[in-house]
Each structure stands twice: as structure tokens, then as C-alpha cells.
């Protein structure tokens, strides 16, 4: 376990280096000079801003020095100021994090709460009616453009039926609500975004769970568990499920980039003030400091997510936790 841990931790160093290098490369992608000071692409940037940028990025210095300086600032979480309102990029991002985090965690909970039982049920009777129905839905879930599904749901539940709000995180008269009313209001605003943003993950994890459970059910230890005289319930939900669930932690880590990427679309459609919407606005405004900060941030987050998932996997799987003695 210790050697495994240290090996994994060591492996993040080149990853971190690569992430920052690619991000840096992206800023310098524009032909000729770094895009950040290219006036033809950025008519919004005033001369004063331009001078500050030249200083900030040390654009008069050689490239590798620029990179090192930028790294040094990153290490202090200094991402510079936003072009649009001159606020610190760090502050702008931090105030948006809780909402995005909340939505993604809710989505994950929703995904796993549904996908695991559905996958298990499908695997118990492969090619049964339930399994066939679910296979069809999963196939559909993979193909449906979720932003379109969002539009349809907004139309149906928001406009036609009037059941749910379709935009923002609170109602206009939020200030006059009592505590519970406020909670309910926020929840109602979150229903559609969470449900719709879960579709892709739901399809993927259901399919994954079905196959991993199906595989576990055919393992020799399942015969042994039955031979012991264990009732079917225990064979399935203890012996098979425990094994089938192990890799799910890894999948959890792998699903982070998809969810973060999805936030850009969902937060934009549902007008939710999260990190994804902030990024969208930054892209529209060509707010490079903000763009770079977010790109590095989500990449590092993804990397850490994968790292944590790997460690968690090593912890739950005794075959890695206790290396052979």
C-alpha cells in the first residue's frame, strides 16, 4: 500500500508539469504574439490593460522565463485580475465554486442512487424484460444531446406545466421567504439542472454496473457462496455486489471531467451562477486571465479527483491494500 501510494503521488508531478505547460501553450497559441495582447483579436482591451498584461506575463522576457514566472504566481494562487471588472480572478472563482460543487455532488448522488440498483437488477436477468428496457434507455441516454433535453424539460415542466422554475437559483421574491421556504425554493430550482445533467452519467454507470455485476455473478466464489448454503439475497447483495462495486470508485474519479465540462452547458442554459457559467462568460468576453485560471483549475481538480479515486480504490480492494506477503 505504501509503495503504491508513493508511486501514485510521484506520478502527479509530471502531470502537474504537463497541465501547466499545456495551459501556458494555449495562451501562446495565437500566431505571432501571445493572444493576450493581440489588439486585433481583443478590441476590448485598452492600452492600459495591455501594458499591465505585458508586465504581468513578462511578455518582453524569453518564453521559458515567462513560464516560470507564471508558475510561481500559480503556486501562490495569484491568477491576476479579471479584464471585465478588474476584480481578483481568485475571488471571482471562489464565490462561484459552492454552487457548481453542490450541483455536481447532487448529480453524482442521484446517478449512483439510480444506476446501481438498475444495473444490478438488469444483471440478475440478462435479456429479461427489465434488462431489455433498460438497455434501450441506456442507448438512448448515450445519444441524446443533453442541452436539447434541457430545453425540452424547460418547455414541458417549466412553461407548459408550470411545475418548476427554469432559470437561476432563487425566485424573485426570495428575500421575503422564511428559511424553509428558501430551502424549498433553491431545491426546486435545482431539480431540472441536476436531473438533466445526470443523464449521461446515468447511462454510463448503469451500463457499467450491469456488466460488472454480470461478471461478478459468474465468478467461482459465487458458486462457493451458493455451495455454502447462503440464500440468494446474500449471494447477490453481499458476495457479488461487494466485488462489482469496487471499481465504481475509479469510475467516480473518471466522471469528474465530464461533469465539470457539462457544468458549462447546464449553468449557461439554466442561468446558474456557477464556475461553468463564469467560464462561458469569460470565453465570450475573452477574459484571458479568468480563462487560464479556470482551465488550470479544472485540470488540476480532475487530476486530484483521479488520484483520490485511485487511492480510495486501493483502500477498498484488499488485493492492493495488502500486497502479497
Amino acid at each position: 500500500m505504501l509503495t503504491y501510494l508513493s508511486r501514485r503521488l510521484l506520478a502527479i508531478l509530471p502531470l502537474l508539469f504537463g497541465i501547466t505547460l499545456i495551459s501556458f501553450f494555449v495562451i501562446h497559441l495565437a500566431p505571432g504574439r501571445p493572444a493576450v495582447v493581440d489588439q486585433t483579436l481583443n478590441p476590448k482591451i485598452s492600452l492600459e490593460v495591455k501594458e499591465r498584461l505585458v508586465k504581468l506575463y513578462g511578455l518582453d522576457k524569453p518564453l521559458h522565463i515567462q513560464y516560470l514566472n507564471w508558475l510561481a504566481r500559480l503556486a501562490r494562487f495569484d491568477f491576476g485580475r479579471s479584464f471585465t471588472d478588474d476584480r481578483l480572478v481568485r475571488d471571482k472563482i471562489i464565490e462561484r465554486v459552492p454552487l457548481t460543487l453542490a450541483i455536481n455532488i447532487l448529480s453524482l448522488v442521484f446517478i449512483f442512487a439510480l444506476a446501481i440498483p438498475i444495473g444490478v437488477r438488469s444483471s440478475l436477468r440478462p435479456s429479461g424484460v427489465f434488462d431489455k428496457g433498460m438497455t434501450f434507455l441506456v442507448f438512448f441516454g448515450f445519444a441524446v444531446p443533453t442541452f436539447w433535453l434541457a430545453l425540452l424539460c424547460m418547455n414541458l415542466f417549466g412553461i407548459q406545466l408550470g411545475w418548476l422554475p427554469i432559470s437561476g437559483i432563487k425566485s424573485l421574491d426570495f428575500e421575503y421567504f422564511g428559511f424553509w421556504q428558501r430551502c424549498l425554493d433553491v431545491c426546486r430550482h435545482l431539480v431540472l439542472p441536476v436531473a438533466v445533467s445526470s443523464i449521461g452519467g446515468l447511462a454510463a454507470i448503469t451500463r457499467y454496473m450491469r456488466s460488472s455485476m454480470g461478471e461478478a455473478l459468474q465468478q467461482p466464489y459465487i458458486y462457493a457462496a451458493r455451495a455454502k448454503g447462503l440464500p440468494r439475497r446474500q449471494v447477490v447483495y453481499k458476495h457479488a455486489l461487494r466485488n462489482a462495486l469496487l471499481p465504481i470508485v475509479t469510475i467516480l474519479g473518471l466522471s469528474i471531467p465530464g461533469l465539470l465540462g457539462g457544468s458549462v452547458i447546464f449553468e449557461t442554459i439554466f442561468s446558474l451562477p456557477g464556475v461553468g457559467r463564469l467560464f462561458y462568460e469569460a470565453v465570450m468576453m475573452r477574459d484571458y486571465n479568468l480563462i487560464m485560471a479556470e482551465v488550470v483549475l479544472v485540470a488540476v481538480l480532475t487530476m486530484l479527483g483521479n488520484l483520490i479515486a485511485d487511492i480510495a480504490y486501493a483502500y477498498v480492494d484488499p488485493r492492493i491494500r495488502y500486497e502479497k506477503t
Binding site: 442541452f147 436539447w148 430545453l151 485540470a299
Partner: protein, 264 residues
């Protein structure tokens, strides 16, 4: 041969959309950008089978031309991704050592970036255009193929027929192209068809955000931009383009599934 419904249905769907896209000029009842002030936001009718948008343009015609863009972006983007993935996967698998370690580390690094963030960052700098979108989607989508090809090559490299080819003095390029790659092509094809679906999905998402294919050139994604402002007023603008995207992706996914079965 066993009957392969998935493949048959998938091919039918894609052939249909493909033909429509190729012969767009003959299929479309109107010019896709012909504005008609007298027919704004008309629901589907005999004159406009799928209705019109807020400028009075015929939705069906726009979607037919949009098919061209969406399919082209999907196919070319995946073409770029597949070429790149196959090349890097071959190099990594065949040469091993430092080159392999470097390429695989690169794969790990790029996989850390949520695709949409990376693409949007590049778009912010390079300006969205059809060409840029294809290239960027291609450049951010090769990692899976590279891993796939690499592992295939690794498992084939030590087989007798490769050793034999080496013994008779075949060049590395010849060994890779003649003896290794053909065996890896099946899985690559499966993942490429699946990839076209994802690329179309990505393009439509980008265009929907206003950061992909730019109006007035129609793509299924950017037709849907108007769906948001006409929500509850003009259902046809929401329903039809989305349905086209859904069915096309379904088609590619079915082909991929069918091919997987075919390869076994």
C-alpha cells in the same frame, strides 16, 4: 452470417442523412438563408413542413444544410483524431521505452482537461470557425484511439508472424503498416464510429453556446440557439433539430455496436 440489426439500422440512418447532406441543394425546398418577412415563426404546414424561424427561414431547408455541416465536422474531426491516435499509438507501442512513456504521459495529461474547457479556451483565442472547430475537436479526441492501438500493437509485436517479418528484414514501417495495423483496425473502427457521434454532440453543444459554427451558416446546434428564446412559442424549432442530432448519434452508435458484434 448472423443477422445484425444494429448495423443495418445504423447504416440506413446514416446513409439517409448522408445522402440528404450531399444532395442538400436538391432536397431543400428553400434557400437556407432566404428571409421571408411574411412567414415568421410559422408552425409546420404544407409549405414549410417543419415550420419557419423568427426570420421566416424554412427550418427544413436549414436543417438539410445543417446536416452537411454537422456530419462534415463530425467525420473530419474524428478523421483527424483517428489519424493522430493511430500514429501516436503505433509509435508508442512499437518503439516503447522513452517515446512510449512520453506519449502515454501526454495522453494522461490531456485527459485531465475536461474537453469542453480546453476547446472553449482555444476557441476564445482562435475565434470559432468551422475549420477551427474540426481541428480542435480532432486534437482533443485522439487519446482513446492511441491507447487502444498501443495495447493492440504491444500484444501483437511478439507474435511469430511479426518476428518472421523482422527476420526476413522487413523495415519497421512495413512491419507496422502491413503486419500490425491491419489487426488493430477493427477496434479502431468501432471507436471511431462511436467518436463521430460524440464529435457531432460536441459540435452541436459548442454551436448552441454560440462558440461553434457561426450563423448564418446553419448547423443543428446553432439552429437550437433560437430555441431558447422561442421556448413555449415555437416548439418546432426546439424539437426537430434536436431530434436530428439524436437520431444521427443513435445511428453512429448503432453502427459502432454492430461493428463490435461483427468483429466479435
Amino acid at each position: 452470417m448472423k443477422k445484425n440489426n444494429a448495423l443495418a439500422i445504423g447504416i440506413t440512418i446514416i446513409a439517409f442523412f448522408g445522402l440528404v447532406a450531399i444532395f442538400a441543394g436538391m432536397c431543400a425546398p428553400y434557400e437556407p438563408s432566404a428571409i421571408d418577412q411574411n412567414n415568421l415563426l410559422m408552425p409546420p404546414s404544407l409549405h414549410h413542413p417543419l415550420g419557419t424561424d423568427s426570420l421566416g427561414r424554412d427550418l427544413l431547408s436549414r436543417m438539410i444544410y445543417g446536416a452537411r455541416i454537422s456530419l462534415a465536422v463530425g467525420i473530419i474531426a474524428v478523421g483527424i483524431a483517428t489519424l493522430l491516435g493511430v500514429f501516436l499509438g503505433c509509435v508508442a507501442g512499437f518503439y516503447g521505452g522513452m517515446i512510449d512513456a512520453f506519449i502515454m504521459r501526454l495522453v494522461d495529461i490531456i485527459l485531465c482537461f475536461p474537453t469542453l474547457f480546453l476547446i472553449l479556451a482555444v476557441v476564445a483565442i482562435l475565434e470559432p470557425s468551422i475549420f477551427n472547430i474540426m481541428v480542435i475537436i480532432g486534437l482533443t479526441g485522439w487519446m482513446g484511439t492511441a491507447r487502444l492501438v498501443r495495447s493492440e500493437i504491444l500484444s501483437l509485436k511478439e507474435r511469430e508472424f511479426v518476428q518472421a517479418a523482422r527476420a526476413i528484414g522487413a523495415s519497421n514501417a512495413r512491419i507496422i503498416l502491413r503486419h500490425l495495423l491491419p489487426h488493430a483496425m477493427g477496434p479502431v473502427l468501432v471507436s471511431a464510429t462511436l467518436g463521430i457521434g460524440s464529435a457531432i454532440l460536441l459540435e452541436s453543444g459548442l454551436s448552441f453556446l454560440g462558440l461553434g459554427v457561426q450563423p448564418p451558416v446553419p448547423s443543428w446546434g446553432n439552429i437550437l440557439i433560437e430555441a431558447k428564446s422561442t421556448l413555449g412559442i415555437a416548439w418546432w424549432i426546439t424539437v426537430f433539430p434536436g431530434l436530428a442530432i439524436l437520431v444521427t448519434i443513435l445511428g453512429f452508435n448503432l453502427i459502432s455496436e454492430g461493428l463490435k458484434k461483427e468483429i466479435g
